[in-house]
Amino acid sequence: MIKEFIRKRSIHVCLVCTGGCNGCDIEVAALLSQRYDLEQYGIYYHNNPRESDALLVTGTVAKQWQEKLVEFYNKVPEPKAVVAIGACALSGGIFQQESDKVGAPVSDVIPVDAEVPGCPPRPAEIAIAVLKYVPPTLASYRRKI
C-alpha cells in the first residue's frame, strides 16, 4: 500500500542505449539540467538496472544487444516498465534498410509499455511520456507466473 503510493511519486530510471546515434541519449542527459530538472518530478536518473523501476531504451538493437537486452530486462526488479525512445527504438528509423545489422524494433525483444516517437524527441516530450505512462504501468503490473 505505502509502497505503491511511494512508487508513483518516485521513479528510478535506467538508460540503456542499444546503438543509435547518441542523439536520444544526450536528450535524456539534458533532462538532468536545472532547466528541465527531472528530479522535481520525482524521477531519479540512475544507470543501474538492479535499482531501477523503468528502463529507457534508445537505439536500434545492435547485434551484441539482442541477447543482452533480455538479460538486462530480467535484472530489473518487478514491477517494471519500459519506455522506448526515438525512431530507432520504435522501428529502426534510418538504419532499418535492407540490412540485418539491427534488431529493431525494441518491442521484438522485450515488452514495451510506452513509446516516444521523434528523432530525437524533445526533452519535454520524454519527460511527459515517462510521467504519464510509467506510474499507471507500475500500478497495474501483474507478476508473471
Binding site: N22, K63, F72, F95, S99
Partner: protein
C-alpha cells in the same frame, strides 16, 4: 592481480562499452576495451545511395557532433565539382559548426564533472549548454540533428532576430564559462582529481596519433581549422594548446576552446555578409579525401561518387578511435585508483557512436584498403586560399 570489468551499462559510463581493467590493489596496470555495442553499419547503408540521403545518414553517425559529419561530407562533395558556396553560406556554416562545438565541449566537461562526482559544476555545465541548444533549435529546427548543410550552401537563412539572440545568449554563456573556469582552476579538490592524472606525453601522443583536444592537451599544436579556407581567409584562428598533458589540461582546453569559439561566432555574426545562401551544383563522378576538425578531433571522409552524385564507396574515420587507443595505451597506465580510470576515460570525450566503424581484414590478416584511396590522395585539392594567392 585482479580484473575489474566496467560496463556495458554502468553508472559512470554514458555509452555502452566494456572496459576491462587489470589492477594491482587499486592501481591500474593494464586495460582492454571491448567495442561493438553500437554497430549499425552506416557505411554499408550509404553505398549506392544518392548523396541527399547519405547526408541524413552521416548526421546520424553521431548525434553529438552532428554538424561535423554532414559538414565534412558536403564540403568533400563540393571539392569534387569545385563549387565554392557563396560567402554568406560559408559564414553560416562557421557559425553552426562553432555552436555545435560549444555544446559538445560543454556536455563533455559536464560528464567529466559528473564522473568525478562534482555534481554542482556538472549540472551547471549542462544548464549552460541548454542556452546553446536553444540557439541551435531556433536556427535549424531541431535540437540535435540540424540538416543544415547542403551542397552549394546552407538550407535556411538567418533572420535579424536570430542574430540578436545568438549574441545575447553567447554573452551569457561566456560569462558563465569564465565562472566555471575559475571554479575549476581554484577548486582544491578538483585539482587533486585532475592534476598529474592520466599523463600522456607529447611523444606518446604523436606515437598513437591522438587527435583533437586530447592531442592539443599534450602539447601538439595542430588543428584542421587552420587549413580550412574560410577560417584562413576571414578569421585569424590560432590553435589553442596546453602542455600539462594531464586531465587538468584536457578539461581546461575545452573551456578555452569554448571561449575561442564564442569569439569566432561573434566575429562571424558581426561580419556576416549579405547575398545568396545557396548555389546550384551538380555532382559528377569523382573521388575525394576531406578532413575537418570535429569537436573531438580530425574527422576524415574518403569517398567515391558515381554520376548523379551517387555514393559508390565511403570510408569514415572518426576521432575517438584514435583517442581511445591513446587512452587505453598510455593514460590508464599508473592511474592511482579505479575511480580515476573512469575520470580519465571521460576526459578524452569518447563518443562510441562515432567509433563503431568496420575494417575489412582478409584471411591473412592484411587490411583491405578502400579502393579509391590512392587516386584520391593525388586528387586532393582544397579551394585555394585567397590570401595565399596574392
Amino acid at each position: 592481480m585482479s580484473y575489474v570489468p566496467i560496463g556495458p551499462i554502468h553508472p559512470g559510463l554514458k555509452e555502452p562499452l566494456r572496459i576491462k581493467l587489470k589492477t594491482e590493489g587499486e592501481r591500474v596496470v593494464d586495460a582492454e576495451v571491448d567495442l561493438g555495442y553500437f554497430y549499425r553499419g552506416a557505411e554499408q547503408l550509404a553505398r549506392g545511395k544518392p548523396w541527399q540521403k547519405v547526408a541524413y545518414l552521416a548526421e546520424r553517425v553521431c548525434g553529438i557532433c552532428s554538424d561535423a559529419h554532414p559538414h565534412t561530407l558536403i564540403e568533400g562533395l563540393e571539392r569534387i565539382v569545385d563549387c565554392e558556396p557563396p560567402l554568406r553560406a560559408q559564414f553560416s556554416r562557421v557559425i553552426m559548426g562553432e555552436l555545435n562545438r560549444i555544446h559538445s565541449h560543454l556536455i563533455a566537461n559536464a560528464i567529466w564533472f559528473l564522473a568525478v562526482e562534482h555534481e554542482t559544476l556538472g549540472i551547471y555545465n549542462l544548464n549552460t549548454r541548454e542556452k546553446v541548444m536553444d540557439l541551435l533549435e531556433m536556427i535549424s529546427g531541431n535540437r540535435v540533428l540540424y540538416s543544415w548543410n547542403i551542397v552549394g550552401g546552407v538550407r535556411m537563412d538567418f533572420k535579424e532576430s536570430h542574430l540578436k539572440k545568438i549574441l545575447d545568449n553567447l554573452a551569457e554563456v561566456e560569462s558563465e564559462v569564465y565562472r566555471y573556469r575559475k571554479m575549476f582552476k581554484t577548486g582544491a579538490l578538483l585539482g587533486l582529481r585532475s592534476k598529474d592524472i592520466g599523463k600522456m606525453t607529447k611523444e606518446e601522443a604523436i606515437e598513437v596519433r591522438a587527435v583533437g583536444p586530447t592531442a592539443r592537451g599534450s602539447g601538439i599544436k595542430f588543428d584542421w581549422r587552420t587549413k580550412h579556407p574560410t577560417y584562413v581567409d576571414h578569421f585569424d584562428f590560432k590553435p589553442i594548446w596546453r602542455d600539462e598533458c594531464d586531465n587538468y589540461a584536457r578539461v581546461m582546453m575545452r573551456f578555452d576552446e569554448i571561449l575561442e569559439s564564442i569569439k569566432i561566432v561573434k566575429k562571424a555574426v558581426d561580419e556576416l555578409p549579405d547575398g545568396p545562401i545557396r548555389k546550384e551544383c551538380e555532382i559528377p563522378r569523382g573521388s575525394v579525401d576531406y578532413r575537418y576538425e570535429a569537436p573531438r578531433g580530425e574527422l576524415a571522409y574518403i569517398f567515391e561518387t558515381a554520376k548523379h552524385g551517387i555514393i559508390k564507396e565511403i570510408t569514415i574515420r572518426t576521432p575517438t578511435i584514435m583517442n581511445l587507443e591513446a587512452c587505453v595505451r598510455y593514460m590508464f597506465k599508473d592511474s592511482p585508483t579505479i575511480a580515476d580510470a573512469i575520470a580519465i576515460y571521460q576526459t578524452i570525450d569518447p563518443c562510441i557512436a562515432c567509433t563503431e566503424r568496420v575494417v575489412i581484414v582478409d584471411e591473412n590478416g592484411n587490411r583491405q584498403d578502400f579502393r579509391g584511396v590512392h587516386t584520391v590522395l593525388r586528387n586532393l585539392k582544397p579551394f585555394k586560399s585567397k590570401k595565399k594567392d596574392r
